[in-house]
C-alpha cells in the first residue's frame, strides 16, 4: 500500500466532460461571465463528481450507468424520416401553440414556429440569444437556482449550449400556449444538455408545455434544466411531458423563483426513460404565493423514476399543494422525496403534500419520504403517502354493477392516473394526454 496521496483517477466521466469545457474555451464567442461560470461548474464537477448512493439525495437512485459514460454531443444530423416521425408524435392535436423545437439539444428553426408571438413576448433559442443579446441571458441564467448545485446541474451549467428562452413582459397575457419541444434521434448514444430560461413579468400570464420525446429503444442522455422566474402576481401553468425512449436517461431540474401573490401550477408526467430523475425546487420568496406541483409516473420493466421536490416557504401566507401519483409494475422502481421548508418567517403557511402509489407486481419497489422542516409555529402542514393495490371497496362497487374483474381493474388503474391529467388546464393537451394514457393503460 502506498502512503503517498496520489490523485485517484475518477471512475466517472467528469474528466472527459471537463476537458470538453476546456477545449471549447479557445474557440468560444461566449461572453466572459458565461465562460467563467462554465469553468467554475466544470471545476466543481471535477472536485465533487456525480452524486452516488452515498449521497442522501441519491440514496435510492444509482446514476452510475449515466455518470460512467461521457456521452458525446450528437454529431451527425438525424435521419429526416425519423425526425418527421418524432415531430408528428410530439404534435398535440388542436394545440394552437407557439412552438420552439430542438433536435438532439440544438435549435431546429425549420421545425419551429416562433415568429408571430404577440408584443411583449420574446421566444428564442439560447444559442442565438447568447450572441444577439447576452444581457438578457445573463439576467436569467442561474437566478432561479437557489439550492446547491449537484453534479448534473454543474454539468448542465458547463455544457448547456442551447434551450428555449421565454421572456414575457409585465401585464401581458399570452393567449396561445408556448410549447418547448425536444426531439432525440441519432445513430449512436449521445448527450444533450439543455437550459431553458423563463421570465414571466409582473401580472403576466402564460401556459408552457415542455415535451421530451425520443426514438423508441434508443440510448441517449438528456440533462435538462428549466429556470422560471415568476414576478409578483404572475400566473404560470407549466406542463412537463417526458416521453423519452425507454432506453434513454433523463435528468431534469426545474427551478422556480416566485414573487408576491404569484400563482404557479405544474404537472409533470414521466412516461418514458430508463433512469429518470426529476428535481423540482421552488422558492416562495414573497407573501401570498400559490404553488401547485402535481406529478404522474408510470414505471415498468427495469426502469427507475425518481421525483425529488423541494418547496421553500421563505415568507408568510403562502400555500403549496403537491400531489404525485405513481404506478409501478414489473421490476420498476420509484422514488419520491418531498422536502418542505417552512422558514421562521413563514407564518400562516399552508402546505399539503400527497404521494400515492400503486404497486402492481411483487417485484416493484417504491421509496417515498416526506421531509418537513418547520421553523414557524403558526402553520398548517400535512403530508401523506399511500402505497398499495387497487381499492377493494371501489373494485366491489364496480363488480356489483356487473362489470367484470379485469375490466374493473383497468378502469380503476386508468382513473388513478387520469386524476393527474385531468388537472391540466390546457384543454387540447389534456385531451391528447388522456389519449396517450389510454394507450399506456388501456381500458379493456
Amino acid at each position: 500500500m502506498s502512503t503517498t496521496a496520489t490523485p485517484t483517477p475518477s471512475t466517472d466521466a467528469r474528466d472527459a466532460y471537463a476537458s470538453r469545457v476546456e477545449a471549447s474555451r479557445g474557440r468560444s464567442i461566449e461572453p466572459a461571465w458565461l465562460m467563467s461560470r462554465r469553468s467554475a461548474a466544470a471545476r466543481q464537477l471535477i472536485e465533487e463528481g456525480f452524486p452516488t448512493t452515498r449521497d442522501e439525495d441519491f440514496r435510492f437512485t444509482n446514476i452510475a450507468p449515466i455518470a460512467s459514460k461521457a456521452y458525446p454531443a450528437a454529431d451527425l444530423p438525424p435521419a429526416r424520416a425519423s425526425i418527421d416521425a418524432l415531430r408528428a408524435l410530439a404534435t398535440v392535436p388542436g394545440l394552437d401553440a407557439h412552438e420552439i423545437v430542438f433536435v438532439n439539444g440544438r435549435f431546429a428553426p425549420e421545425l419551429s414556429s416562433i415568429t408571430g408571438t404577440p408584443p411583449g413576448v420574446r421566444l428564442a433559442n439560447l444559442a442565438s440569444t447568447i450572441g444577439a443579446d447576452p444581457a438578457i441571458v445573463e439576467s436569467l441564467w442561474g437566478n432561479a437556482i437557489k439550492f446547491e448545485m449537484q453534479g448534473f446541474t454543474a454539468l448542465n451549467t458547463a455544457l448547456a449550449a442551447d434551450g428555449a428562452i421565454l421572456d414575457v413582459d409585465p401585464e401581458v397575457v399570452v393567449e396561445r400556449p408556448i410549447h418547448f419541444v425536444f426531439l432525440s434521434s441519432a445513430p449512436a448514444p449521445f448527450g444533450a444538455h439543455v437550459r431553458n430560461l423563463v421570465r414571466v413579468g409582473h401580472h403576466a400570464e402564460v401556459r408552457i408545455v415542455e415535451s421530451y420525446i425520443g426514438d423508441a429503444g434508443q440510448e441517449y442522455f438528456t440533462n435538462a434544466i428549466t429556470e422560471v422566474l415568476g414576478a409578483a402576481e404572475s400566473k404560470v401553468e407549466y406542463c412537463r411531458v417526458q416521453r423519452e425512449s425507454m432506453a434513454a436517461h433523463h435528468i431534469s431540474g426545474t427551478h422556480l423563483h416566485l414573487g408576491r401573490a404569484a400563482v404557479f401550477a405544474s404537472e409533470s408526467l414521466s412516461l418514458g426513460g430508463a433512469i429518470v430523475r426529476n428535481d423540482v425546487n421552488a422558492t416562495l420568496d414573497a407573501e401570498g404565493i400559490s404553488c401547485t406541483l402535481n406529478g404522474l409516473y408510470l414505471v415498468d420493466g427495469d426502469r427507475l423514476v425518481d421525483n425529488h421536490t423541494t418547496i421553500d416557504h421563505a415568507k408568510p401566507h403562502c400555500e403549496s399543494h403537491e400531489l404525485y401519483k405513481g404506478i409501478l409494475d414489473d421490476r420498476g422502481r420509484g422514488v419520491f422525496n418531498g422536502k418542505i421548508f417552512v422558514r421562521e418567517d413563514a407564518q400562516k403557511t399552508d402546505a399539503k403534500q400527497t404521494n400515492k402509489i400503486l404497486l402492481l407486481s411483487d417485484d416493484a419497489t417504491i421509496d417515498t419520504k416526506p421531509q418537513l422542516e418547520i421553523f414557524a409555529d403558526d402553520v398548517k402542514c400535512t403530508h401523506g403517502a399511500t402505497i398499495g393495490q387497487l381499492d377493494e371497496g371501489q373494485m366491489f362497487y364496480l363488480k356489483s354493477r356487473g362489470i367484470g374483474e379485469d375490466h374493473a381493474r383497468s378502469i380503476l388503474l386508468h382513473a388513478f392516473a387520469a386524476d393527474i391529467v385531468e388537472r391540466i388546464e390546457v384543454e387540447a393537451l389534456r385531451t391528447h394526454l388522456e389519449r396517450l394514457l389510454l394507450e399506456r393503460l388501456p381500458i379493456d
Binding site: 366491489f396 362497487y397 363488480k399 356489483s400 354493477r401 356487473g402 380503476l412 386508468h414 382513473a415 388513478f416
Partner: protein, 249 residues
Amino acid sequence: MLQITNLQARVEDKPILKGINLTVKPGEVHAIMGPNGSGKSTLAGVLAGKGEYEVTGGEVTFDGKDLLDLDPEERAREGLFLAFQYPVEIPGVSNSYFLKAALNAVRKHRGEAEVDAIEFMKLVKAKMKVLEMDPAFLGRSVNQGFSGGEKKRNEIFQMAVLEPRLALLDETDSGLDIDALQVVSKGVNALRSPERATIVVTHYQRLLNYIVPDFVHVLANGRIIRSGGKELALELEAKGYGWLDQGAA
C-alpha cells in the same frame, strides 16, 4: 325467485347471521327491519357477494342457481342489484362511463346488443327525469363530492337504468330528507312489476310509507324472529324493538 335456507355468515371470527330463512317470489316487496347490529346489512352484503363476509352454512338460490357460487359481477348480471348504504366514491371515472359499462355488461349477459352512446343518453335522460337529476351529473366522477342524498339518489338511478329483477336496498333512507325520500321511493316504485322483487333493509318504518311492503321481517341477533304483513312495521314503530326481543327470549 330467491330462496334463503338456514344462511349463516361471519365477519372475521364473529358470527353475524345465525340461520336465516326467507323466500321471495316475483312481484313481492319484503322489508327487513331490526335494531342496529342485528345483521341487516350483513345479509344484504352476503347476497351481493361482498368479500369481507364468510358464509359458514346454509344456501341461497336465485332462480334455481346457487347464488353463493357466483362472483359479484355474475350476480349483478343475473339481475341482482344492491343499493349501497355507503356508496363508494370513484374519482376519475365518470358516472356516464361507469353506467354504460355496467349496462352493457348486463345486456351482453342477457344476449342483448350493447347500447351505443346515443341510445345510452336517451335511456339515461328519461330515467334522470324520474329521479329529478341534473344531466350535468353524468360528467362528474362517480359519487365524488356528492352529498349523502345525492349518493342515494345515484344508487336508485343506477338501479333504474340496470333494471334488476331483484333489488336490495340497504338503508337507502338513511340520511335522506323527506323530499329526497319521496323522489327515491318514486324511482323504486317505478320499477315494481310482477316479474321483479325488492328487499328493503331499513331501521325505520318511515320509508315503508312510500315503498309499501307485502311482508315485513324482523331481524334480531342474526335470525328472523318475526314475520308479518305491513302492519308489523307500524307496530314496531309504536312499540320499538325491545318488545320483540323479550317475546323471543
